[in-house]
Symmetry: C2
Subunit: 344 residues, 2 copies
């Protein structure tokens, strides 16, 4: 069955003439139907933890756009929440967590992730799986340990996650212990997503590019390598996409050393340059500028053509280079799909 899903065929190494496509944050605020469903939950986290509503918003972009993959609607910060760290989403302000400022704060967290707390995610995956068209893959995900830890330390998003970077320099042992817990928690969390029906996995390391090289290796690359190695043992056939945003010159080494099946490329990466340096057995995903999608028209057409040309002949999953923005016109998403699926 899986072999009939274009996304999984590409993840298994096939270069398809019609590139499968999904968009990061495709279930989100650019959709009117999302905004309506959002009103039914008291908070953003309540939406994530309500299996029916989470399944509904996961399916909305599939119904409207027939993307080749659904990604389960959730947030990377359900993991700290499931370790007992208080997480809130203030409207329009982004996430707020009780920051970890020392060893005691780490001790106050659970030793292991509370999978029962995350059971609504697995239920939502089951609901989505039943409802998805046979050709549509279902993606499970988590944040990479470094990115998740950077929010746990700072208590919020910052322009360059400096609080966590500084904390890691000053308290490498405490930070390593936190990363260790996140590695273990991510492995069991992703395993349960796969068991619930996720066809493949994406690991988001949105803040990988903020790290200096040695810290990138230690806190970004190595933890993802270990998560992938552990998942391979439990679920050898499940393909994994890693998205180390901002990795730049380190991309090729990251691909080779993590052993990821596929690499998500951010907006800044030139497709041809990436194709030249990244091992040919690694599938590439990306990387339309979300602002080109907002602009639409000629700039969108040019950007899409360059990406298609850059990845030609190589297994490629079309996506944005970063999440779709709330102000994106729906017509432009339609126009993108018309460019990618001329025969449809």
């Amino acid at each position: 069955m899986a072999a009939n899903k274009p996304l999984l065929r590409v993840l298994n190494g096939e270069a398809l003439s019609t590139t499968p496509v999904w968009l990061m944050r495709q279930a989100g605020r650019y959709l009117t139907e999302y905004k309506q469903t959002r009103l039914k939950a008291r908070s953003f986290l309540d939406l994530c933890y309500n299996p029916k509503l989470a399944a509904e918003v996961t399916l909305q972009p599939i119904r409207r756009f027939h993307f080749d993959a659904a990604i389960i609607f959730s947030d990377i910060l359900v993991v700290p929440d499931a370790f007992g760290q208080k997480v809130d989403f203030e409207s329009g302000e982004g996430p707020r967590l009780q920051p970890i400022i020392g060893a005691d704060d780490l001790k106050a967290l659970r030793e292991t992730i509370d999978l029962d707390h995350l059971s609504p995610v697995f239920e939502a995956i089951q609901l989505v799986k039943q409802a998805l068209p046979a050709k549509t893959a279902l993606i499970g995900f988590c944040g990479a340990p470094w990115t998740v830890a950077s929010y746990m330390i700072a208590g919020r998003g910052t322009p360059d996650q400096a609080p966590a970077r500084l904390f890691a320099y000053r308290n490498p042992d405490i930070f390593a212990a936190l990363i260790e817990r996140l590695i273990e928690g991510s492995v069991v969390y992703l395993s349960r997503q796969i068991e619930a029906g996720a066809d493949c996995i994406q690991i988001f390391d949105s803040w990988a590019g903020a790290l200096a090289p040695a810290e990138f290796e230690r806190w970004a690359l190595d933890p993802v390598r270990r998560i992938i190695a552990a998942l391979r043992i439990r679920h050898p056939r499940t393909k994994i996409i890693a998205f180390p945003r901002g990795a730049g010159l380190a991309l090729a080494g990251y691909a080779a050393q993590t052993g990821t099946d596929a690499l998500g490329l951010d907006t800044s990466v030139d497709p041809a340059s990436a194709a030249a340096v990244i091992p040919s057995n690694v599938v590439l995903q990306g990387n339309l500028d979300p602002l080109a999608l907002i602009a639409g028209g000629e700039p969108l057409g040019e950007a899409v053509a360059k990406i298609q040309a850059g990845f030609r002949g190589r297994p490629h999953i079309f996506n944005l280079g970063h999440g779709i923005l709330p102000e994106t016109p729906l017509d432009n998403v339609e126009a993108l799909l018309a460019l990618l699926r001329p025969e449809a």
Copy 2:
């Protein structure tokens, strides 16, 4: 004379056993003496435009730390100011400009840069030049057209300069006209800095990494290539350092195609990887994590050792990978210099 300045010897291709060092934003708020001088000017821009005070703050880090280069104290936004766009620095808030939102706003600006308005910068350079030790190089600078334009469009700094990126997609002709003016203005502005006494030039493209690849080529790489080509004709012996922050995989192509003498590397770049892909005739500058300098101690020692090992045998100027932060302890700067100058 120039041949006795270590920084210029390195820029001319010599690999020195004691690497010359300066720090981006070395004249700034981490220095108590800077904060005292700052009080003598009504505003940040008044400080930039007061030759005596600007010279004084330029010299402060040289007196205290004997860096191998002074960089004239100014701001990249004096250029829009000299094109007639209103620029303000609200305290603690960063810059505020009257944003350019259409062709009329561009028409309202001067066709050419007002060099008279910038004469205090040239006067400050002359004052610094007279006061500098013979071994200390003086660096002039400007922002790259893309980075300067991104502030002119948004009217402020943003997390990813999205307003200017979107403007450029939607209004490529207006944006190209703005970039054209900035190229021409930067060439004459930098020429006058060199004529006033700047020994070499750094071009800061702090937001280069925010651009998609085709836009990086058009708005970041090509304008800097043209500025460098024009400066070569006017001042063939003056060396140029380009700092395209976040360029990532595009660094090698940028170095080759702009024809820059030296490349400033941001914090994320692995020295050995950069040395492997960047043409060997390009001098490399960088790239200590400013947060490792705040942390001090063992993390600082490890980070410095890795940078020294990564650039060994290659002409290298030691610097940070981004500007020094206000909370940096002065003792840690002393410790850095002790690591770099063990014989002193």
